[in-house]
């Protein structure tokens, strides 16, 4: 039998769901086994980073990196895997766009430490001891990864070949990637062009089975998903429930809307969109009903209408804040008088 290719899977700032997702492909895992040997997979077995560091460059055929870049260790491993791999895939929403950990970009290291190591009710830390990247103790020197101020995406720190969004990527997408790699290895088929997103190019609405109002779509009031019992057949957005589908890339098979839950946008924006949240903000604002008395509405009344959207940042950028145009929150240096 020919030599097996080498693959690696690593988790940065992620939850482990992506690692489990890789196993969800069921029997297809045998296809992976047939052609590949897993050389590094911290959640799966006891591989050591120094063994990977000792490998010749480009000796791993494919590396799947899931999780965002939260600290210096995440970045270091990303760089090692980039050096040692022919193909590096950003696996899952966190690696592609920052994902849920990316929402920490509304705060910073200092505030995170303050909350985690001091303010939480169950924390007893009167001296406010926080992790130090470097410490000298009687036994010698100790190093810890440096915790960054901002969460970054994988492609901010290394060159990425393919992006596979999803929280986690769905079985069909993983199978698509495995097939592409297998065909490349066994039959010499071409890989997709560099930078390709392994998903659909359409929006989620295109895959969703729910019935949509085609003409004069208007919503009267915005509801949180728990506030009303949604009609299981009709478009959720038409019912006033914020569904990020219109601004989100398809490929997942619209699993959430089909299970009566609004899309939260884990697949990220489509190719034509620069800013996932901005795109959804635009779509949602245009859907709110406009009546004949519109010209008489005051700016305050309009503000009140739009205040129905609770937490627009958290809603529209639930998975893509580090990949958005502004990337993170900022602080005004001066306060306006009055």
């Amino acid at each position: 039998m020919a030599d097996k290719i080498k693959i690696a899977q690593y988790w940065g700032a992620g939850c482990g769901g992506c690692d489990v997702a890789l196993l969800d492909i069921d029997a297809k895992i045998l296809d992976v086994h047939a052609i590949a040997e897993v050389v590094f997979w911290p959640i799966g077995f006891d591989g050591k980073l120094h063994e990977i560091e000792a490998m010749p460059d480009k000796s791993i055929t494919v590396s799947f990196y899931n999780g965002a870049i939260r600290n210096s260790e995440n970045e270091h491993v990303a760089k090692v895997l980039r050096e040692k791999s022919v193909v590096l895939i950003a696996f899952g929403s966190c690696a592609c766009f920052g994902g849920t950990p990316g929402l920490a970009n509304v705060t910073n290291r200092e505030e995170v430490f303050q909350t985690v190591y001091k303010d939480t009710a169950s924390t007893d830390n009167p001296d406010f001891v926080t992790p130090k990247p470097h410490l000298t103790v009687p036994e010698g020197e100790v190093d810890l990864p440096q915790f960054y101020d901002s969460v970054k995406t994988l492609d901010e720190v290394v060159d990425v070949d393919y992006f596979m969004p999803g929280c986690p990527p769905t079985v069909n997408l993983i199978a698509m990637a495995v097939d592409a790699v297998a065909k490349h290895v066994t039959e010499g088929a071409d890989l997709p062009p560099k930078g390709a997103v392994i998903a659909s190019d359409k929006t989620l609405c295109d895959e969703c089975d729910r019935e949509r109002v085609e003409k004069d779509r208007r919503i009267e009031k915005i509801y949180q998903a728990y506030e009303i019992k949604a009609d299981p057949k009709k478009c959720l957005l038409d019912q006033g429930i914020i569904c990020i589908g219109p601004a989100t890339r398809a490929g997942c098979g619209a699993m959430c809307p089909n299970a009566n839950m609004p899309c939260r946008g884990c697949m990220g924006p489509t190719k034509a969109v620069m800013d996932h949240g901005g795109s959804m903000l635009s779509a949602l604002s245009s859907l709110l009903n406009i009546t004949d008395s519109e010209s008489k509405l005051s700016e305050e009344q309009i503000m009140e209408l739009m205040m129905q959207v609770k937490d627009p940042l958290g809603t529209f950028y639930a998975f893509t804040l580090p990949k958005s145009l502004l990337k993170r929150t900022v602080t005004e240096k001066r306060k306006r008088k009055g």
């Binding site: 509304v106 101020d149 901002s150 969109v273 620069m274 800013d275 949240g277 901005g278 795109s279 903000l281 635009s282 949602l284 604002s285 245009s286 709110l288 406009i290 519109e294 010209s295 008489k296 509405l297 700016e299 309009i302 503000m303 209408l305 739009m306 205040m307 959207v309 937490d311 627009p312 940042l313 529209f316 958005s324 145009l325 502004l326 993170r328 929150t329 900022v330 602080t331 005004e332 240096k333 001066r334 306006r336 008088k337």
Partner: protein, 153 residues
Amino acid sequence: MSSTAPETGGEHKVGEESFEPRIIVFCCNWCSYAGADLAGVSRLQMPPHFRVIRVMCSARVDPEFVLRAFQKGADGVLVAGCHPADCHYIGGNYRTRRRIALLRILLQQFGFDPGRLKLEWISAGEGEKFQKTIVEFTDTVNELGPSPMKGGD
């Protein structure tokens, strides 16, 4: 750009570097751009720190444009469109009004002073209102100082 701003009341504190705000103004083709034009041909004096981008309708101003302007370091963004009930496309300005309101909430969450984004209705005959809006908005931005995007993090 000219270095003097005759009409602004924005005072610079001693020892602070002089601040020339960069302001992006989106004007709709049918009302506000004509209003800006009128202000120009009427030789109304305005601080020279704004750049006008003409769009067909204020509703063409995708929230992405505004976010992009701030990302690129704009200190303020002004969106100007036709008065309510006057939109060339009947209801474009109503969409704009909703988007800008929500965008201001969003910008505040991002840490910006919402005063950096302004929406104003300026008709083709309101050259003076255009001038007044620019003067006032430049003052506001001067007071706020440079965008927090600059040199941040």
